[in-house]
């Protein structure tokens, strides 16, 4: 395996309490901490481990978005990626468009493996990896919690509703990762300095000639239905009485 491509999406940090703007036009992102989607960080960690074990030559991180996404790409470079690609687009691009962009980079740079997060914690869509596999005509192994890389094959343990499914795929392939695959490394200060010298290529979305396909429009946003705080009971007897009251025990 020569080259691994890893997608890094810039998202609102998972510790931020996300709020809908009062006019319903979106969620509040002004002054909010932004980070790499946690699943993508795990994907990058996996790619770096493959490279460090001598099974890959180059790890490339890619993000689609505004210039701000450079921050997340720099963090990816500081973690250990060799180079970064920013595909610049002003408007938001749907999963199909992202998958098509990734495919054009796969063709251009002869990528052998794509590692992505299983979902992004902003739109929670869980689509891009599966779409990329479809367009590329290569295997997909989603929700990976363990992977063994054996030359031209990978044995992937997938977290599914029934338990664990062990799937073997031929490479090249798309693998989307789940939280339990690994724990991403912390970035050290010297690595941040080093990352500044690593190549970060910027491509305008228009120059790639990718058709993002028919987009799904976001019409409005609202806060979810609130649940009311209920009653506190003092002891087990009170709890049992409250449950009996509701016909639940």
């Amino acid at each position: 395996m020569q080259k691994i491509l890893v997608g890094l999406k810039r998202v609102v940090d998972y510790n931020v309490r996300v709020r809908v703007k009062s006019d319903g036009s979106g969620v509040e992102t002004d002054g909010v901490k932004m980070s790499i989607n946690p699943f993508d960080e795990i994907a990058l960690e996996e790619a770096l481990r493959i490279k460090e074990s001598g099974q890959a030559a180059e790890v490339i991180v890619i993000s689609v978005g505004t210039g701000d996404a450079q921050q997340q790409l720099r963090t990816g470079l500081a973690m250990g990626a060799d180079r970064a690609i920013l595909v610049e687009s002003e408007g938001s691009v749907g999963s199909l468009g992202i998958a098509r962009i990734f495919k054009s980079i796969i063709d251009r740079d002869s990528i052998d493996l794509v590692l992505l997060g299983k979902q992004a914690i902003d739109d929670d869509n869980s689509q891009t990896g599966q779409m990329l596999a479809a367009i590329w005509g290569r295997p997909q192994a989603t929700f990976a919690s363990q992977v063994e890389w054996n030359g031209d094959k990978a044995k992937v343990t997938r977290e599914v509703d029934a338990g664990l499914e062990i799937t073997e795929v031929d490479l090249p392939a798309v693998v989307t990762v789940d939280l339990r695959l690994n724990e991403p490394r912390y970035v050290k200060l010297p690595d941040i300095m080093k990352a500044k010298k690593k190549p970060l290529e910027t491509i305008a979305m228009a120059d790639l000639g990718v058709d993002p396909g028919p987009e799904i429009k976001e019409l409005s946003f609202e806060p979810p239905a609130e649940r009311e705080r209920g009653v506190m009971v003092d002891d087990v007897a009170g709890l049992v009485a409250a449950l009996k009251d509701k016909g639940l025990a």
Partner: protein
């Protein structure tokens, strides 16, 4: 009029209840005509169950030996080949549907509407984003097929009693051999299934060990409840991954949910919001879980649970 194709989830013999819930969602689209596709090596038993679901017009059988297991790269080309004439193609937002449906969408050159929680009109839907911290209303383009997954916790199962026509569908599709399922490891349990149980008891990090979690099982057995867990409990190895509830685990909607030693992180809450009654037992009165609990008890679970198990 909307012509809707629903992809059945099954294990080769039993139709998963996620399918009946997906049908219930589709039936809320005005003028919906609903077909169910059963892709299997032997489709008979599953097709018969699908044909019983209310609102279903036809059950289409796609039988091939390759359909023995649910591999997205094998099923999706057949579904795409069947898609002509349908305005919508829906699957459940379970790991089966999440894996499969985006692959179908990409083959049909459209984006997907994930986790539909409400239908506003044939092309407008509500869906949760940011771990349920916001609800977005989205509109799919009117001139292309709508591919979507249904958030099954938002719907009750469609009723039975129907006898829809069962037909074979012939599609030609080239199927790849690059993906092979070697093994499925499922915890065997005779407890109620987490996703359909009327009552669920769940434990968090506070249980401290696999042995500690025994208290949760004992309480669940007293209540005939299913058992779930927070991510922290799964990560720590107290219980297997299929028990995780939340943004990245299962989304459930039981009548009764009891959270024990679970703090109530947003990523967990999003998986239980639709429960009828939420009970929380936690020794920290400031735990966020109490903000949404209908009944709360501040106490040490190791004292409380033995007493509760005894009292029930």
């Amino acid at each position: 009029m909307s012509k809707i194709l629903i992809i059945a989830e099954h294990d080769g013999s039993i139709l998963n209840s996620s399918t009946a819930k997906t049908v219930a969602c589709a039936a809320t689209i005005e003028g919906a005509e609903i077909d169910i596709a059963v892709l299997a090596s032997t489709a008979g038993p599953v097709a018969a169950q699908a044909a019983e679901l209310e609102s279903v017009t036809r059950v289409l059988i796609l039988e091939r030996p390759e359909n023995e297991q649910a591999i997205a790269a094998i099923l999706a080309p057949q579904i795409a080949a069947l898609a002509g004439g349908y305005s919508h193609i829906f699957g459940p937002s379970t790991t089966f549907g999440k894996d499969l449906m985006p692959h179908v969408a990409a083959l049909l050159s459209v984006n997907q509407v994930s986790d539909i929680m409400a239908v506003e009109s044939s092309h407008t839907f509500k869906r949760p984003i940011y771990a349920g911290s916001a609800v977005a209303t989205v509109e799919a383009p009117g001139d292309s097929v709508v591919v979507g997954t249904v958030r099954i916790a938002s719907y009750g199962a469609a009723n039975g009693g129907n006898s829809a026509a069962i037909e074979s569908a012939d599609v030609s599709a080239d199927l790849p051999s690059h993906t092979r399922i070697l093994e499925v490891q499922s915890g065997v349990s005779d407890r109620p299934d987490l996703q359909t149980a009327a009552k669920v008891v769940a434990g968090g990090r506070a249980l401290g060990s696999e042995e500690g979690f025994d208290l949760i099982y004992r309480l669940a057995d007293k209540l005939a409840a299913g058992v779930g867990a927070s991510r922290a409990a799964v990560d720590a190895g107290y219980v297997p991954n299929e028990m995780q509830i939340g943004q990245t685990g299962k989304i459930i909607a039981p009548d009764l949910y009891i959270a024990i030693g679970i703090s109530g992180a947003i990523q967990h809450i999003t998986g239980i919001k639709d429960a009828g009654t939420i009970v929380a037992i936690n020794k920290d009165e400031e735990a966020p879980i109490f903000e949404i609990a209908d009944i709360g008890l501040v106490s040490d679970l190791f004292n409380t649970l033995p007493e509760l198990i005894e009292a029930l």
